[in-house]
């Protein structure tokens, strides 16, 4: 038995949270250092995992399996080339969130950090679980800490947003629970590896696909069930928004790859037009909505919906470029949206306003901030040389193979994306310094500077040199698409 490295990745933040629980809540520095320490250790473990990960194998690696509920469910975790990147994204963003609480969280710091660490456990668990029931536990368990993060530390309309977030997500996922149990009775197991081998009877696939879709669509979020996201983002504290945008939304995208497409190839093929249509609506419609926002966080929230529309578009092309693009776009959006929310958090902490009209001319008083925000804006709109470009480019390439029309409409989204992001940047950073309050504003402090610089560097570095990511997932994606095509061909042969 090897060292259970994945389980320790999952458990370590919880142990840290338990440790925090026993620290006196007045000892603020102690609390911060413990949680930061735990999350950085976790990051280092995940990097170590990445280093010893075999990139040339598409098998699940570091698999751990033990009996959990007798004769029913096994606790099974493991990673492949796709999931490991999401784990690293999670462990990378979490320490930054913990660093950022310095200025934004004033009361109940201990509880906040406990919630963040529990969240990390659950998020890593989602990306590693190789059993449907285990996946559901982690996926749904995230509701509790996130509900509290929005509700306790949020803005003025936090109660409304927290309830909306909770109920929307719960409603989506109960149908997934029914589907998970049904799969157990149809196929006799909920082990994902086994299910990949066995396949699921095509006659059930459409309904099961829809049940999973209802959950992932709410979480992604796809049009028309995206309305909880802007509310949740606007009211959540900075760290909460970052976790939400950078990682929670990716759980759904990951779920589409691992479960919707992986388990139900026939149904996925059947529903491609449906996905394309709502992805396109998400891209175009939410981009237009984003143009009209006067609240910075809302604008970025709507842009997230649009970017996730690209992701679903890419994943459902079932081409090497499209799927790789979808994965890359998720990682890239994880970094970029985290950076944008951190940036909004920086100015919000100083002025307590998120309205775009209250800003303008920031470049005169906050030069460092303005430079970094420029990088994030360009990353978000997909300028070549940033991570955003690679994702969108691959997705559009994959889509062109499938349908010229869809790709052409989606390309419009890129233009709209540039429009709202640049306009936002222009209104916030350039122009006359009209608001007198802004005169006294101070530029980034050391912590903020280091968070934002780290994010900016990774956006540019991986924008020029995406190989570390693409090498990791390319074998897995190739195998993923081959298996998908095999299963589809088998099905078509049987039906002829």
């Amino acid at each position: 038995m090897n060292f259970p490295i994945i389980s320790s990745l999952i458990l370590l933040p919880s142990i840290g949270a338990l440790f925090l629980f026993f620290i006196n809540s007045k000892n603020i520095t102690g609390i911060k250092y413990v949680s930061l320490f735990v999350s950085i250790i976790n990051f280092l473990i995940s990097i170590y995992l990445w280093l010893i990960f075999d990139q040339f194998s598409y098998e699940f690696q570091f698999v751990e399996s033990r009996v959990w509920i007798k004769d029913f469910i096994n606790y099974k975790v493991g990673v492949d080339g796709i999931s490991i990147l999401f784990i690293i994204l999670t462990t990378f963003i979490t320490p930054l969130c913990i660093l950022s609480v310095n200025s934004s969280i004033k009361n109940r710091l201990k509880e906040f950090l406990i919630a963040i660490l529990l969240m990390e456990t659950l998020m890593i668990g989602v990306f590693c679980s190789l059993d449907l029931v285990i996946f559901y536990l982690f996926f749904e368990g995230g509701l509790i800490p996130m509900f509290l993060i929005i509700g306790i530390w949020g803005g003025e309309r936090r109660v409304y947003s927290a309830f909306k977030f909770f109920l929307f997500t719960l409603l989506g996922s109960v149908l997934m629970l029914i589907a998970v149990i049904s799969i157990y009775w149809i196929a006799g197991t909920t082990d994902v590896e086994e299910l990949y081998k066995l396949g699921i009877d095509p006659k059930y696939q459409n309904l099961l696909w829809l049940a999973f879709f209802s959950s992932f669509a709410v979480k992604t979020p796809m049009w028309p069930v995206h309305t909880w996201l802007p509310d949740a983002h606007v009211e959540a504290p900075t760290a909460g928004s970052v976790l939400l945008a950078a990682i929670l939304l990716k759980m759904a995208g990951y779920g589409f790859i691992r479960f919707s497409i992986g388990l139900f190839p026939v149904a996925s093929e059947y529903f491609v037009p449906f996905i394309f249509v709502i992805s396109l609506i998400a891209i175009i419609y939410t981009s237009l909505v984003a143009l009209m926002q006067d609240d910075m966080k809302k604008l970025i929230a709507y842009s997230s919906v649009a970017h996730m529309g690209f992701v679903t578009l890419g994943l459902f092309t079932f081409t090497q470029q499209g799927v790789e693009g979808g994965i890359f776009q998720m990682i890239s959006h994880g970094i970029v949206s985290a950076a944008l929310f951190f940036s909004v958090g920086v100015v919000y902490d100083r002025t307590h306003s998120r309205r775009i009209n209250d800003y303008g001319g920031l470049v005169n008083v906050m030069p460092k901030y303005s430079i970094l925000l420029m990088v994030f804006t360009l990353g978000s709109l997909g300028l070549p040389g940033t991570t955003g470009f690679i994702g969108e480019f691959l997705i559009l390439m994959g889509t062109f193979k499938k349908s010229f029309l869809v790709a052409a409409i989606a390309s419009l989204g890129v233009i709209l994306g540039a429009a709202y992001m640049l306009w936002l940047y222009k209104r916030v950073v350039f122009g006359e310094l009209t608001n007198q309050k802004l005169l006294k504003i101070i530029d980034l402090n050391k912590v903020e500077l280091s968070i934002l610089t780290l994010l900016a560097l990774s956006i540019i570095f991986f924008g020029f040199y995406p190989d570390p990511f693409s090498n990791t997932y390319s074998v897995s994606v190739e195998n993923f698409i081959n298996e998908y095509n095999d299963k589809l061909n088998n099905y078509n042969l049987q039906n002829q």
Binding site: W68, L137, E140, L148, V159, F163, L167, L177, I178, W185
Partner: protein, 471 residues
């Protein structure tokens, strides 16, 4: 003689009741002594009961009384939960001036009635047990006799319960008329062909039992009685009669009338869906915690019934697991209610929870865990309870029931998280007292810890029910 040996638990409880009555009559100011002694009696009864667990099923008194693993398990659960209830409500009973000698003795007699109900294998024996249980509970509901709400709830419970007992008796007589026996085994043999008389009888008996477990549409009494009775009695209402009545449901439906599964399944599904949906919707507007938990228990009973409607051993086992987790969550919830007191006055409105998390972080943390668990959010115990039920339901392809049930959990989640919102997001109020008894604190800590860490090894509770095979 050998017959009497196997019912030592019941005999022991009956003798204790008589002795305690005598002590109460002849000794002055013996209330507290009797109360404490009752707790010990419950524990001794539990020990006897576990010791007696028979290897193979035993039929006593011409097959009218049955003792096997299933009844022993349920009796143990009843005795343990009665003990916990007594332990956690001691302070409440003292401070509300309802600590009279009759109080523990009445509880003990209703427990005795429940034990008889659980073991009964004959309609007459079953009815005797049921009435013993109910009569004691009528008095308990009205125990705070100077309080108008308590008297009202006792009266309401008495009248409606008498009506349902009447229906139940009528059902028994119909069954007797058409199968010429009151014994479950003989009824099974005599009712091979499906006769409408027997089906009518089953329906009437189900109505009577549904009344006891507050299944919709026989739930009207529950909110008023829960609200009016003293909280220490409400917790009994919320837990004990439901375990007993649900066990009778199982014994009754899966015993003599197993062959008529197709006939009664529709009734159970109807009761189940009605309870789940109504319990979830009606609780939303409630302002008092006791009324809210009444509706919540209505909807929880709906889930337990859903497990019974399946017609498999897994369904029954999962219903029992559901009941066990339900009772842990309810005891824990009521422990929290007992802690909401200031200068000997107890509070039970939703708004009294306002800002609890600032003044009492640990209490509100436990209450939050309990509420999320009641709402069925993973990874807490309440989720697994529902998960098992729906596993059994979906095995039989009853998708409609599963979808309605799960959607009703979403509706129900709304009012549970509303309480969490009040505790965590609202402004704080005055502090509550902290001088709680150690028993109360222990029960709260242990039960909320069980709820929280149940997921680490679910087999511990599941193993208890694996041996229950009725079909």
């Amino acid at each position: 003689m050998i017959n009497l040996f196997y019912i030592s638990t019941e005999i022991f409880l009956s003798l204790s009741i008589l002795i305690l009555l005598l002590i109460g009559v002849f000794k002055n100011k013996s209330e507290l002594f009797i109360y404490n002694f009752t707790c010990i009696i419950l524990l001794v009864g539990l020990a006897i009961n576990i010791k007696l667990n028979p290897q193979s099923p035993i039929d006593l008194f011409n097959n009218s009384y049955k003792i096997d693993y299933f009844t022993t398990l349920i009796k143990s659960v009843i005795l343990i939960s009665a003990f916990l209830v007594m332990l956690c409500s001691l302070n409440y009973v003292k401070q509300n001036d309802i600590l009279k000698i009759e109080y523990p003795i009445l509880i003990l007699s209703s427990i005795l009635g429940m034990l008889v109900m659980v073991s009964s294998n004959d309609l007459i024996v079953f009815y005797v047990g049921l009435e013993l249980q109910s009569l004691a509970l009528y008095v308990l509901a009205a125990f705070k006799r100077d309080n108008i709400l308590s008297s009202e709830s006792g009266l309401k419970y008495f009248i409606l319960s008498a009506l349902s007992s009447g229906l139940l008796l009528y059902g028994c007589s119909l069954i007797y008329g058409f199968s010429s026996s009151t014994n479950f085994d003989l009824i099974y043999q005599n009712s091979e062909s499906i006769e409408y008389g027997i089906i009518f009888g089953i329906v009437f008996i189900l109505v009577g039992l549904a009344f006891k477990i507050t299944a919709v549409p026989f739930h009207m009494w529950a909110p008023d009685v829960y609200d009016g009775s003293p909280t220490s009695v409400t917790v009994i209402f919320a837990i004990l009669p439901k375990i007993a009545a649900l066990t009778v449901f199982i014994n009754f439906l899966y015993g003599p009338f197993l062959e008529m599964f197709d006939q009664w399944q529709a009734v159970i599904i109807f009761l189940s869906i009605g309870s789940m949906v109504f319990g979830a919707v009606a609780a939303i507007g409630q302002k008092k915690l006791k009324r809210l938990i009444a509706y919540s228990s209505i909807s929880h009973m709906g889930f337990a019934l859903a497990g019974l409607s399946v017609g498999t051993n897994e369904g029954i086992q999962n219903s029992i697991i559901y009941l066990m987790i339900y009772l842990i969550m309810n005891i824990a919830f009521f422990c929290c209610l007992f802690m909401l007191k200031r200068e000997n006055q107890y509070f039970d409105k939703v708004e009294d929870l306002s800002g609890l998390s600032k003044n009492h972080p640990l209490l509100s943390l436990s209450l939050m865990i309990i509420l999320f668990s009641l709402a069925g959010i993973p990874p807490l115990a309440g989720f697994f309870a529902k998960f098992y039920i729906f596993t059994a339901v979906i095995e039989q392809s009853m998708y409609f029931l599963a979808i309605v049930g799960l959607l009703s959990t979403v509706i129900a989640a709304f009012y549970y998280i509303r309480l969490i919102k009040v505790m965590y997001f609202d402004e704080q109020k005055e502090k509550y007292d902290l001088n709680h008894s150690i028993g109360l604190k222990m029960i709260l800590v242990i039960s909320s810890t069980i709820i929280l860490i149940y997921f680490i090894n679910p087999n511990i509770i599941n193993n208890f029910v694996l041996d229950i095979t009725l079909i």
